[in-house]
């Protein structure tokens, strides 16, 4: 044997990795220079500007214009239609000083897609900071600008999807510029699913969020995470993940455990650079909050991140420091008076043939409600942790700081007696901060002091006093003192009006606040009158678009509650246009306008139209919040309901089930959204003959409403009525009869005698009695219900038909043919 000569032994005695290393080392790594194409001439003797998974970037001169451009040649040849799409054109429309422009794009003859982008001379963010040994404050200033640019794009519905330091160039004069905006998303399929590998998608593991690894659709939250990772790197001076080594083991660990990564200060120790320990704690909190592995726990937008950076800069308490657990609790909120009237239930009659009703609140208000709920919840938990001590992670020492800062500020402010104007100003600001943190008692104290001081300085009748009164009015709303709040708003408004022109922003905002207050307490006519007074100014050149959107939104809601669907529809369309102009096509506010329009279509019985609007809203919310977010699930429920109304139960069911699961897991406390989904699922199950399922769903629905609104609320009764209908279907007549009688009593207690709910319930009871052949008793109920419904115009016709059919049966059985004939005639006439 000559084994030592043998190739197999030669190879096998060596390490394959080493062989591969050497093979690669001597292989050519020169990328092939592309050929020129019009109007671009690639510069000779230049290496590519960059190479990535998506392609190489080359420097070229654009003829005619005589400017340098960066040409990106992409490696993918499939789906060339992506490059002709509307979406990519939108990227070209991104015009921001801090975002590199996309000049042009196309596909070469061989199928290579190309993009011509603004060439930015400068260094990548990390290199720039390292080369100039930027201080933490300089780094934060750069980061702040980056966030602003990202936020600008988000408001236009464009996300980056692959933010990282190397995609951020800093020019010689210190201005950051973002490259490759929106390209990552172009590789997503239109249905939102991702079929390509992560590398093909172009994201960079070290800055990619956990959901990107899971291949989920990209949304704004992805950019929030990446910004967090970039901030980490800027603060720590080193990336969170060293990608050359076992980066993925690290990421896996973070993904599977809920453990947070070590804070940036841990890596940055020694190079603190003019930042105090306390400031580090804030920066750590901001960074880690942006990098939360769960979307729901992250900053909900770049805007929120920017706000915290601003607070940091102005030494205010940082929101990220508030211990967070999932805090979406509408039920809690509903008990709060501030918005209780806002969310006053408007029950409207639902689909023909069902004695079902649905609760409707316009989405805009609902979101306010949500914000409120989140806030109060966070505060509650914060206080709890404060008193209990908590664990090491969110221990009191750290969190106490929020309060200590404020308390210190209060003390310092009280010492400012030499400069009472500033002192008054501080007292008012601090009061407002406490108010926004939900700490109403200290807020109250501070605002009282501020008001006292204002009056001493400026006299009783001054715009400064009016301003503090208005802030106090907002606090009274929080405290549930609506009447007092309204009184203060009026006082403040009158004072403003005495001193300021009627188109002054202070006058306008006080008036709009009054309008919303009136709407909250159900004085819709007055609200409309008030809002209409300022509308010309708000929509004039004095007003802001945001103010206009608010004003029109409030008007749309007021008309909706008044039942003026036509006007509400027109106003909502106006609001939609403004919101689109303000935020682009894919903003949650735009989605809310769609929801409102859908609700109006539902009222009109145009369920197909309603479905269309709800689906538009659903797409946006999915994109913005992710598919597992309760915000998204809410809209999915609406879509499910619209489908159910159209009799498309099979399509509705999976949608509703998914929504229910999300809502239930998001929020353990009973809430109306869960109830709505349960009710719809109950109807779908009943229609498809799954009576056991239907019974279970309606029982849960009733329990949920009972927990939220109380036992005597009409929604509880409606759910019980649905449940009774299931008993009837199951031929459990005795049970059905008892429950219907209970339901009718409940309705009678809370509703006017001619309310259609009562009519429907009595007909249902009559129907059950008919089934039991108790014709005498049935006659009474049927006639009573018939009498109520015959006066209604809208869609309970099918219950009228049931009543007639049953009455004919009753009179035939009772041998009263002439009465039977009468209803037979009416039946024929109504055909």
């Amino acid at each position: 044997m000559h084994e030592e000569d043998n190739l197999t032994e030669r190879i096998f005695n060596r390490d394959a990795f080493e062989i591969a290393d050497q093979m690669l080392g001597s292989a050519s790594t020169e990328p092939i220079r592309p050929n020129d194409f019009d109007p671009y001439r690639f510069l000779p003797d230049r290496d590519p500007l960059g190479s990535g998974a998506m392609g190489d970037v080359w420097l070229a001169k654009e003829e005619g214009v005589d400017r340098l451009v960066a040409i990106k040649l992409l490696r993918r040849t499939s789906e060339p239609d992506v490059w002709a799409s509307r979406e990519i054109k939108r990227l070209g429309a991104l015009e921001h000083q801090l975002i590199a422009r996309l000049y042009n794009h196309g596909v070469l003859q061989d199928g290579t897609p190309w993009l011509a982008m603004e060439y930015v001379e400068g260094e990548s963010l990390d290199k720039y900071c390292r080369a100039r040994s930027c201080s933490i404050r300089e780094r934060l200033a750069l980061f702040h600008e980056v966030c602003e640019a990202v936020q600008y794009a988000h408001l236009r519905g464009i996300i980056h999807g692959d933010l990282k330091p190397s995609n951020i160039r800093v020019t010689n004069d210190g201005q950051p510029k973002l490259l490759d905006f929106g390209l990552a998303e172009q590789f997503q399929n239109t249905d939102g699913t991702v079929t390509q590998s992560p590398a093909a998608l172009g994201f960079t593991p070290a800055y990619a969020s956990p959901e990107q690894f899971r291949g989920e659709p990209v949304g704004v939250y992805v950019d929030v995470y990446a910004l967090g990772a970039i901030l980490y790197e800027l603060l720590a001076g080193t990336p969170l993940f060293d990608t050359s080594n076992s980066a993925y083991a690290e990421i896996e660990r973070l993904q599977t455990s809920e453990r947070k990564p070590d804070p940036p200060s841990a890596a940055a120790l020694g190079s603190a650079g003019g930042v105090t320990k306390a400031e580090w704690r804030d920066l750590d909190a901001i960074c880690l909050h942006a990098m939360e592995s769960g979307i729901q726990r992250r900053y909900s937008s770049v805007e929120a991140l920017i706000q915290d950076l601003d607070r940091f800069k102005s030494c205010e308490p940082v929101k990220a420091r508030l211990p967070y657990t999932w805090s979406y609790r509408p039920a809690k909120f509903l008990r709060r008076n501030r918005v209780a009237a806002f969310v006053a239930l408007i029950v409207v009659l639902a689909a023909a043939g069902m004695a079902s009703f649905y609760t409707l609140r316009l989405a805009r208000e609902r979101d306010k409600a949500r914000t409120e709920a989140a806030r109060s919840q966070r505060i509650a938990e914060f206080m709890q942790d404060l008193f209990q001590g908590g664990d090491d992670e969110v221990g009191p020492a750290k969190d106490l700081k929020v309060v200590t800062i404020l308390d210190k500020a209060v003390k310092e402010t009280q010492a400012l007696t030499r400069d009472p104007k500033v002192q008054a100003d501080f007292l008012q600001s601090l009061g407002t901060v406490y108010e926004s943190l939900g700490e109403l008692d200290p807020a109250d104290k501070l605002l009282r002091s501020a008001l006292q001081l204002d009056r001493k300085i400026y006299g009783p009748d001054h715009e400064q006093v009016a301003d503090t009164l208005l802030k106090t009015a907002v606090l009274r709303q929080d405290q549930g003192q609506l009447a007092e709040s309204e009184r203060l708003i009026r006082e403040s408004l009158a004072m403003f009006q005495r001193h300021l022109p009627k188109n002054d922003p202070s006058v306008l905002s006080a008036t709009i606040l009054l309008g919303s207050m009136l709407e909250q307490r159900g004085a819709y006519d007055q609200a409309i009158q008030t809002l209409n007074q300022v509308l010309p100014f708000v929509s004039g050149k004095e007003g802001t678009k945001k103010g206009l959107a608010n004003c029109i939104g409030l008007l749309a809601n007021a008309y909706f509650y008044l039942g003026d669907n036509q006007r509400s529809d027109a106003l909502n369309r106006q609001a939609l246009d403004i919101d689109k102009e303000l935020h682009g096509d894919r903003h949650p506010d735009v989605a809310d306008d769609y929801v409102n329009l859908g609700q109006i279509q539902t009222r009109w019985g145009h369920y197909g139209e309603a479905e269309k609007y709800f689906r538009l809203a659903l797409d946006i919310k999915r994109w913005w919040f992710g598919k597992d977010s309760p915000q998204t699930a809410d809209i999915a429920t609406y879509v499910g309901q619209a489908l159910e109304y159209q009799g498309r139960d099979a399509e509705a069911e999976p949608l509703l089930k998914e929504a229910l699961a999300v809502l239930q897991s998001a929020n353990r406390e009973p809430n109306t959204r869960v109830a709505l989904a349960l009710g719809e699922l109950g109807k779908v199950s009943k229609d498809s003959g799954n009576l056991d399922d239907a019974e279970a769903y309606f029982k849960q629905e009733a329990e949920t409403y009972r927990a939220v609104y109380g036992d005597q609320h009409q929604n509880t009764a409606i759910a019980l009525s649905n449940l009774a209908s299931v008993y009837k279907e199951k031929k459990q007549y005795a049970r059905a009869e008892a429950l219907f009688r209970d339901v009718i009593q409940r309705f009678t207690r809370v509703l006017p005698a001619d309310n259609p709910n009562i009519g429907v319930a009595r007909i249902k009871l009559g129907d059950v009695l008919c089934g039991e052949k108790r014709y005498q008793a049935a006659e009474g109920e049927l006639l009573a219900g018939y009498g109520i419904l015959i006066k209604q115009t809208s869609p309970q016709v099918s219950w009228l038909k049931t009543a007639r059919d049953d009455l004919i049966a009753v009179y035939s059985a009772l041998k009263q043919p002439e009465k039977a004939a009468k209803f037979r005639e009416e039946l024929a006439a109504r055909k």
Binding site: M1, L7, I11, F12, D21, M23, A27, S197, P205
Partner: protein, 187 residues
């Protein structure tokens, strides 16, 4: 260390490997894959993408019962071969001219006097491996893991659910097969 089968019947791929093993291979393989100049149209087939995707699959499956550990090792080995072949082909066609001998790394601890491996050697072995896979997939699996991924005989035994002696016996047999294919006269 590897659990033996769990109760869900006997699946040959059911061996659970240690996280450290996969991470060790992954962390060696990934930088190599990243250096490949990919000319394919579909970036999803870039060796980096393949390695990364396989790894992610494994991560995601952890804690969910099914463990595609062995499948992932198979992909890793496949990518490793692909990297070597791709680089060898380039070496052959590019500037040095065909058949250049690679420099030795003289402080390699295992066999200080080993001879150089040429691009042709890599390509020849790869062709032989393709035949082995057809003839005897299990032996090909063993060579994949032992040689291309540098796993120890113990690790391969655990991964494939075989005894160590079986692995060693099959490996000897595979080497004989490969030797015969590569230089038929030497047998």
């Amino acid at each position: 260390m590897p659990d033996t089968q769990n109760n869900s019947g006997r699946e040959d791929d059911g061996a659970w490997l240690s996280v450290e093993l996969i991470d060790r291979i992954y962390s060696k393989l990934r930088p190599l894959a990243a250096r490949v100049q990919w000319r394919g149209a579909d970036p999803a087939l870039h060796p980096s993408s393949l390695v990364h995707e396989a790894y992610l699959k494994l991560i995601k499956s952890r804690g969910q019962g099914a463990r595609p550990d062995n499948e992932v090792l198979g992909i890793f080995a496949h990518v490793m071969r692909q990297i070597m072949v791709d680089a060898a082909r380039r070496n052959k066609t590019e500037k040095r001219g065909g058949g250049a001998v690679l420099p030795l790394n003289s402080d390699h601890p295992v066999s200080p006097q080993r001879e150089a491996v040429s691009p042709e050697d890599v390509l020849t072995l790869d062709a032989a491996m393709t035949e082995l896979r057809v003839e005897n997939p299990r032996q090909a699996d063993i060579i994949d893991r032992r040689f291309y991924l540098g796993m120890t005989a113990d690790e391969v035994a655990a991964a494939l659910g075989l005894s160590k002696t079986t692995v060693e016996r099959e490996e000897r047999s595979a080497r004989t097969f490969l030797r015969n294919r590569i230089s038929p006269g030497a047998a």
